[in-house]
Symmetry: D2
Subunit: 137 residues, 4 copies
């Protein structure tokens, strides 16, 4: 039960993006992906064969950091800066792609990587699909 929708609707400055539904989905996708990535890093740490999972743990943590940062930036509607938003969205989509690719490699035998890849794909799509700077000209 996220509060993102209600918080944007009651924000005197918002919504900063015309498509509120897409904005809410992107905010939720970012925070949900961050949580899934932090959880996947921890689950990998508990697996037997860690050496082969070092890259997965690393990308999980990187992606989680980028997603939480992006989620916070999109949460703010006041004095929204289109350039800052677009740079952040582009970086987040790429981070999700890299982490999602890695998790997908392990998705067949580790359910946590399968779920995390799903979270990364959803967040990548949401960031790629949010119309901000490219549509403002």
């Amino acid at each position: 039960m996220s509060y993102a929708q209600r918080m944007i609707e009651s924000n005197p400055s918002g919504p900063a993006v015309a498509d509120t539904a897409a904005l809410v989905e992107c905010i939720e996708a970012c925070f949900d992906c961050a949580q899934a990535c932090f959880a996947c890093a921890d689950a990998c740490l508990g697996e037997g064969d860690i050496q082969t999972l070092a890259r997965c743990i690393r990308l999980n943590l990187d992606c989680a950091n980028v997603c939480e940062s992006t989620g916070k930036i999109l949460t703010r509607q006041t004095a929204f800066d289109l350039e800052m938003a677009q740079v952040t969205l582009d970086g987040c989509a790429q981070a999700c792609r890299l982490c999602g690719d890695e998790c997908e490699e392990h998705a067949g035998h580790m359910e946590h990587c399968r779920v995390c890849a799903e979270a990364c794909r959803r967040c990548e799509r949401a960031c790629d699909g949010l119309p901000t700077l490219r549509d403002s000209g």
Copy 2:
């Protein structure tokens, strides 16, 4: 659509707390409250009379930082440390109480404060209600 439940179920080390449903609710309440608090700080910044909202903005940001930290700590099931968890939960419940009290003062005329107070109360309850160290003796 949070992934917390599925991530815990697929974590080879977890769940660290016997009552998985309470753990999932607490993780989700922490991250949802952090998002609501970041959003409320921004919404307050867009209001006309900021001077009277400085304390609200400040507690929003403090509470958001504590909640995101607590959400991450609870997300990790591997080598779960009961003392670390309990200290964190206690601090988070108090942060949510302080921020919820402040937001409630403005809830009558600002919907974002009303929603944020709701998020804080839910998170305070979830942190207070999660049985960890106190029940492990």
Copy 3:
């Protein structure tokens, strides 16, 4: 070259704590400890025998999260809330103690744990020694 000292001196609301030097030291100790803990978690991940380091990695990440949250809360001078500050400082001192104790166990054969333990001890001392609520009565 931290900016904490100059930022507090130029903050129209601050300093929130009478002993500015102690406040600056605490802010710097929190952020430096967070960085050291994130670094130690990563260094442990690169070591050969990870299974024995799972607890260290976990406490590193927990402590890093608590320290970065505390550093941000202490950074804010406007509408400083003594109760919020004290709860946060107490929790941070305990997190640093737990992580410092664990790192110290490995300090003899892993330099990164030795440095991290040093960072944790410094931060624990700074948080314990910062006079806020207890001295305000």
Copy 4:
């Protein structure tokens, strides 16, 4: 007294970038800039004329979030991913440029904005100057 240098030297996987001094400077510039930006947002909140500072507060918080995320990603030496690093560095340099430009507008009459602009410029330079992907071909 940052621990970044000693943590990288004792990391079994690192340094991920040949120029260790540039890497350490970049990590420190990121975390120092994040702290300065969080502090500047708070200092602005305490100023009399907030309406004109809404954009500054907003960009401060955005830049702080991007910088702390970048600082964490660069802190990790294990399974360093050049593409992730480069995307992150590019985004961080742009965030610092946007925030630095805004702070510079107020630098003449607000010392906290002058110091924060200095932190942003240093971090922008460090991110732009760190040789990773572009030099690896």
